[in-house]
Symmetry: C2
Subunit: 142 residues, 2 copies
DNA sequence: CGCATATAGTTGTATTATACAATAATGTAG
DNA sequence: CTACATTATTGTATAATACAACTATATGCG
């Protein structure tokens, strides 16, 4: 029974998440973890934003973002600019060192993906990226 | 600069892992978590195995597997059969209730993936499964 | 205007999944 | 038979998350 195409996706997805989780636990590249990376990515794409906006965009609880932001601030990667129109709120902004370490980390990640897919065709890379994105969108929406 | 194909994979992969992690935290389907699921999958495919073998096959630390096994045993999903040739070792074996709840959980997961990919072509599903597998193999090996 | 409610962010606490290190019990080889 | 290796467990730590409680501030209504 069952749809073998779905079964394959289902199993490989479980394996993938485990592998990546496992890597995160030990093989952390540099000073940045995946979650901080996504937060910084968001800041670098969207510009300075507050905890609430970030939490919405990243689909995380504000408490989670708040802690990540605190940790990044401690490392000097983001600074908190008070929102002049609302004294409860801040804008989180990447610092210079944040930006440069973010780029360095991104490069290290890309190198890793380069190696992982070194024997793939560009067509495969393209499909994989597209399908991952499509899948992520589905998860976000459904 | 950089390779846009790789950048897309890299980013979407980070997002994917977060989404799935997030789902695991709240939306747990039934009584089984992803990690227990993979362990039970392994047992159902490979038959009764010891902690060490499982850890090797799943590429996890033995301590991690040992705890998962203990938790599954507590739920009555696996039983420990002493290895007659080595009194340090056990075989973990799925119980009936383990098998049936595993199948039920698997079905729930498949339903979920069915929905997530409901507007995909079979060709896309096939490609996604293949590429995920290929990627997982790369991670395991490189 | 002032109180009630809403909102931004932080902090306390819990859960899940993992690793590494130390240990106990048992096996094995010289 | 002793020294070393191996199987599994347990202690401890880390990362990433959520929910709930709280603080401070904002807003809107009577």
């Amino acid at each position: 029974m069952g749809n073998p195409l779905l079964e394959k996706i289902e199993l490989e997805m479980a394996v993938l998440v485990r592998r990546v989780t496992s890597i995160t636990s030990k093989n952390k590249i540099g000073n940045l973890d995946r979650s901080a990376y996504l937060l910084m990515h968001e800041l670098s794409v969207e510009g300075p934003s507050g905890v609430k906006t970030l939490a919405e965009n990243l689909q995380l609880d504000t408490s989670t973002v708040s802690r990540q932001a605190a940790s990044l601030e401690k490392k000097g990667y983001v600074s908190k600019i008070p929102d002049p129109t609302d004294r409860r709120a801040y804008f989180l902004q990447l610092t210079e060192s944040g930006t440069s370490d973010f780029n360095e980390y991104k490069k290290a990640r890309l190198d890793r993906f380069e190696i992982l897919t070194e024997d793939w065709t560009d067509e495969e890379r393209k499909q994989f990226g597209n399908l991952l994105k499509k899948f992520n969108q589905a998860i976000s929406e459904k």
